[in-house]
C-alpha cells in the first residue's frame, strides 16, 4: 500500500527467506494458465517479494501484536482445481438479497444472481476481457515488500471476482457475497474488486464461513467514484481451525460515502485490515466493527484513514468482548495530510474482558499535518462493572445472565451504527446467542 505509514516503517528485508519458500511451492500450479501479461508480471513480483520477506514477524511495523507463528505450524495447500462441494448444503442467504457465491476463493457464476445494474466476472475473465482500469485497480497495491500477505496473495493471483455497479444505479437489495471454505488445509487467496461508478449506490454483505482447517488470505479493493455510496458489511464466522486475513483497500473519490462494518466471531486467528484513502474533497466514511471471541481465538482490527483533501470525515468505532485466553489487537490511525484542512476524524476502541486471562492491546494514533482539523480518539479495556453486576443480581438476575446482559449492552452500542436495519437485528441476535452459549 502506498500509505504514509508504510514509508516510515520501511525495513530492509533479507535477500531470501527460507521459511517463505514452502508457501510459494504451489504457484507452479497456475503458471500454465492462459493469463494476460500484466497478471503474470504481478504474480512474479508478488512471489519475488514474498520470497524475500516471508510472513511478517513481530518485528514488522503493524504486526507487533499479532503473531502469525501458528499459521506456519500447519502446511496449507493451494489448489488450482475446481472446488468440489455440495451446493445444496450452502447456507441460505441472511436477508432478501442478490447473491454471489465464492467457494474456496472461486467465483461460482451458476449459484449467483444479480440485477442488471451489477455485473460480476471472475477475476481471470475480467483480466482476459481487458476490463477497463482493472490493471490499475489490481496493481495499485504499491510496494509489495511492505505488505507480505498481499504479496503472497499476488503470487497466487487467479481467484476472486470483479463487481461493477453501473453509473447512477441504486441497487435495490443488498448483494450477499458468500465466501464458503471447505477445509482440508486449503490455502485460499481470493482477490476481490468492488467498483462503484459515479453516483451509484449499493449494499454488500460478505459472509465468511467454512468447515475444517484452512487459511484464507483475501485482498479486497474497493474503488468508489464520485458521489457513490457503499455499505460494505463483513460477517466473519470462520471455523474454529481457520485463519482469516483480509486487507481491504478502499479508495474514495469526491463526495463518496462509505459505511463499513464487520462482525467477527470464531476463527483461530482473524485479522481485518482497512486502508481508507479519502482521495478527494468531502468524502464521508465510517468504519466500525465488533468481535466476540473466546478460547484461544485472536482478532486484529488494523485501520488507517488517510485524508488527502479538505472536508473529509472519517469515524472509527470498534468494540469487542473477550473471554478465556482470547486476544485482541486494535491499531487505528488517522493520517491527515497538509492539504486536508477541515478534516473531521474520530476513532475509538473499547474492549470488554470477561476473564482476567483475556488480553487486549490497542495502538491508537493520530498523525496530523494540516492545521485546521478536528481529530480525537479513545481506547479502553475493562471488565464488567461490579456495581452494575450487583444491581442486576439484586433484582433477581443470576450472575451469568447478568454478565451476558451487560456484555450484550456493551456490544450493541457498536452494532447500532449499522444502518441496514435487518442486518443490525441479525447482528444483535448473533451477539446475544454467542453470549448465551459461551459457557454451555
Amino acid at each position: 500500500m502506498s500509505s504514509a505509514t508504510a514509508k516510515e516503517s520501511f525495513m530492509p528485508a533479507p535477500a531470501q527467506n527460507a521459511a517463505a519458500l514452502p508457501w510459494l511451492a504451489e504457484t507452479a500450479a497456475i503458471e500454465k494458465d492462459k493469463a494476460v501479461n500484466w497478471v503474470k508480471a504481478l504474480r512474479a513480483t508478488g512471489a519475488e517479494s514474498f520470497a524475500r520477506t516471508g510472513l511478517p514477524t513481530l518485528g514488522w511495523e503493524g504486526w507487533q501484536y499479532t503473531n502469525l507463528r501458528p499459521l506456519s505450524s500447519v502446511k496449507f495447500h493451494y489448489s488450482a482445481d475446481a472446488a468440489v462441494f455440495d451446493a445444496s448444503r450452502l447456507p441460505a442467504p441472511l436477508l432478501d438479497s442478490y447473491r454471489i457465491v465464492v467457494v474456496n476463493g472461486q467465483y461460482q457464476p451458476k449459484l449467483s444472481s444479480l440485477p442488471k445494474s451489477v455485473t460480476v466476472q471472475s477475476l481471470m475473465d475480467a483480466a482476459t476481457g481487458h476490463a477497463q482500469g482493472l490493471e490499475d485497480a489490481l496493481v495499485r497495491v504499491g510496494d509489495l515488500a511492505q505488505v507480505p500477505l498481499v504479496a503472497l496473495n499476488s503470487a497466487y493471483l487467479r481467484d476472486g471476482f470483479v463487481l461493477n455497479v453501473a453509473k447512477n444505479a441504486d441497487v435495490d437489495k443488498p448483494v450477499e457475497v458468500l465466501f464458503f471454505n471447505t477445509g482440508n488445509d486449503a490455502a485460499i487467496y481470493p482477490r476481490v474488486l468492488y467498483r462503484l461508478a459515479e453516483n451509484s449506490g449499493a449494499t454488500i454483505i460478505e459472509r465468511h464461513l467454512g468447515m475444517g482447517s484452512y487459511f484464507t488470505n483475501i485482498y479486497t479493493a474497493i474503488a468508489q467514484e464520485s458521489a457513490s455510496r457503499l455499505r460494505y458489511y463483513r460477517a466473519v464466522n470462520e471455523s474454529g481451525n481457520s485463519f482469516h486475513i483480509n486487507m481491504a483497500a478502499v479508495q474514495l473519490q469526491k463526495n463518496a460515502q462509505f459505511e463499513g462494518f464487520s462482525m467477527a466471531t470464531g476463527g483461530k486467528l482473524t485479522r481485518q485490515e482497512y486502508q481508507l484513502q479519502l482521495l478527494d474533497k468531502d468524502v464521508c466514511c465510517s468504519i466500525g466493527g465488533v468481535y466476540l471471541i473466546n478460547g484461544q481465538e485472536s482478532h486484529d482490527f488494523t485501520v488507517l484513514a488517510d485524508h488527502f483533501e479538505p472536508g473529509g470525515k472519517s469515524a472509527q468505532h470498534f468494540r469487542g468482548v473477550l473471554d478465556d485466553q482470547a486476544r485482541t489487537v486494535f491499531q487505528g490511525k488517522i493520517y491527515v495530510r497538509r492539504s486536508a484542512q477541515k478534516t473531521d476524524g474520530y476513532q475509538s476502541h473499547h474492549a470488554l474482558l470477561l476473564a482476567p486471562t483475556a488480553e487486549a492491546s490497542a495502538k491508537p494514533e493520530l498523525e496530523i499535518y494540516a492545521d485546521d482539523v478536528k481529530c480525537s480518539h479513545g481506547a479502553t479495556s475493562g471488565q464488567i462493572d461490579p456495581v452494575a453486576l450487583f444491581y442486576l443480581k439484586s433484582r433477581g438476575i443470576p450472575e451469568q445472565a447478568a454478565k451476558a446482559l451487560l456484555a450484550e449492552a456493551f456490544i450493541n452500542e457498536a452494532i447500532e451504527q449499522v444502518t441496514l436495519e435487518p442486518l443490525r437485528e441479525l447482528h444483535r441476535a448473533r451477539a446475544a446467542q454467542w453470549l448465551a452459549e459461551r459457557h454451555t
Binding site: Y391, K393, S394, E399, A402, F410, E413
Partner: protein, 251 residues
C-alpha cells in the same frame, strides 16, 4: 419475617456494624435513622448481599431461611428488594428488558411460568400511572440520563413490579424535592400490606411524615441505640443525633 441477631460486619477490615439486633414482623414498617457513617447503608447492602461486606458474627434469618449464605439473586427470589441510595446507570439495557429478565428469572427460580407479555404490559402500565412516570423512560437505558428524582422513582417502580416481601429503602428520600417525595411515598404506601414489610433507612425525619413507620430505630456507631414509636423520629428532628455520638466508639 426478618430477624437480625448480633450482626457484626467489617468493611475493608474496619468494624462498621457491631452487634445489630432487629426483628421485623410481617406487614410492619421499620425506620432506621442515624447520622452519616453510622452503618445504615452497610446494613442495607448486607441484607441485599453485596460483595465486600464481611460478616464476622451473627446471623440473619428471613422467613426461616438463613440469608447470609444466599447469592443476591437468590435473596431477590426469596422476596428481598433493595432500593439503592445511588441507583446504577446501565447504558444499553432498557428498563423494560431489565425488568422482564428480572421478573422471569425470579419466577423461574420459584418454579413458576414466565410472565405473559400481555400481563407484563398491563402490570407495567398500572404501576407507571401510579408513579406518574412516562412509558418512554422505560425504553431508555436503565437510569441513563435520569435526574436524581427520576432514578428514585424508577427504584420504586421496580419495587412495585417485583412485589417483594421485604423492601429496604436506602435513603430513597435523598435528592428528592417535595413533589417527588410525595409521589415516591404514595408509591410505597400503595404497596403496604399485611404480607409486606419495609425497612426505611433515612437521615431525615421528613420522609416519615409520608411513610408512617410502626417502629423507629436509631443507629449510631454501628449499634442500635434506641428503639421507639413514630414519636422517636420527631425527637430526633428536634434534638439531632448529638446525644448518640461518642457512645461505644472506642473501637
Amino acid at each position: 419475617m426478618l430477624k437480625i441477631e448480633n450482626l457484626h460486619v467489617n468493611v475493608a477490615g474496619r468494624a462498621i456494624l457491631k452487634g445489630i439486633n432487629l426483628e421485623i414482623q410481617s406487614g410492619q414498617v421499620h425506620a432506621i435513622m442515624g447520622p452519616n457513617g453510622s452503618g445504615k447503608s452497610t446494613l442495607s447492602y448486607v441484607l441485599a448481599g453485596r460483595e465486600g461486606y464481611e460478616v464476622t458474627q451473627g446471623k440473619i434469618t428471613f422467613n426461616g431461611q438463613s440469608l447470609l449464605e444466599m447469592e443476591p439473586e437468590d435473596r431477590a427470589a426469596a422476596g428481598i428488594f433493595l432500593a439503592f441510595q445511588y441507583p446504577v446507570e446501565i447504558p444499553g439495557v432498557t428498563t423494560i428488558n431489565f425488568l422482564k429478565t428480572a421478573i422471569n428469572s425470579i419466577r423461574k427460580k420459584r418454579g413458576e411460568k414466565e410472565m405473559e407479555p400481555a400481563a407484563f404490559l398491563k402490570l407495567q402500565k398500572e404501576k407507571l400511572t401510579k408513579l406518574g412516570m412516562d412509558a418512554e423512560m422505560l425504553k431508555r437505558g436503565v437510569n441513563v440520563g435520569f435526574s436524581g428524582g427520576e432514578k428514585k422513582r424508577n427504584e420504586v417502580f421496580q419495587m412495585a413490579m417485583l412485589e417483594p416481601k421485604l423492601a429496604v429503602l436506602d435513603e430513597t428520600d435523598s435528592g428528592l424535592d417535595i413533589d417527588a417525595l410525595k409521589i415516591v411515598s404514595d408509591g410505597v404506601n400503595a404497596l403496604r400490606s399485611a404480607e409486606r414489610s419495609f425497612l426505611v433507612i433515612t437521615h431525615y425525619q421528613r420522609l416519615l411524615n409520608y411513610i408512617k413507620p410502626d417502629v423507629v430505630h436509631v443507629l449510631a456507631g454501628g449499634l442500635i441505640r434506641k428503639t421507639g414509636g413514630p414519636e422517636l423520629a420527631l425527637q430526633l428532628e428536634e434534638k439531632g443525633y448529638a446525644e448518640y455520638y461518642g457512645e461505644g466508639e472506642a473501637a
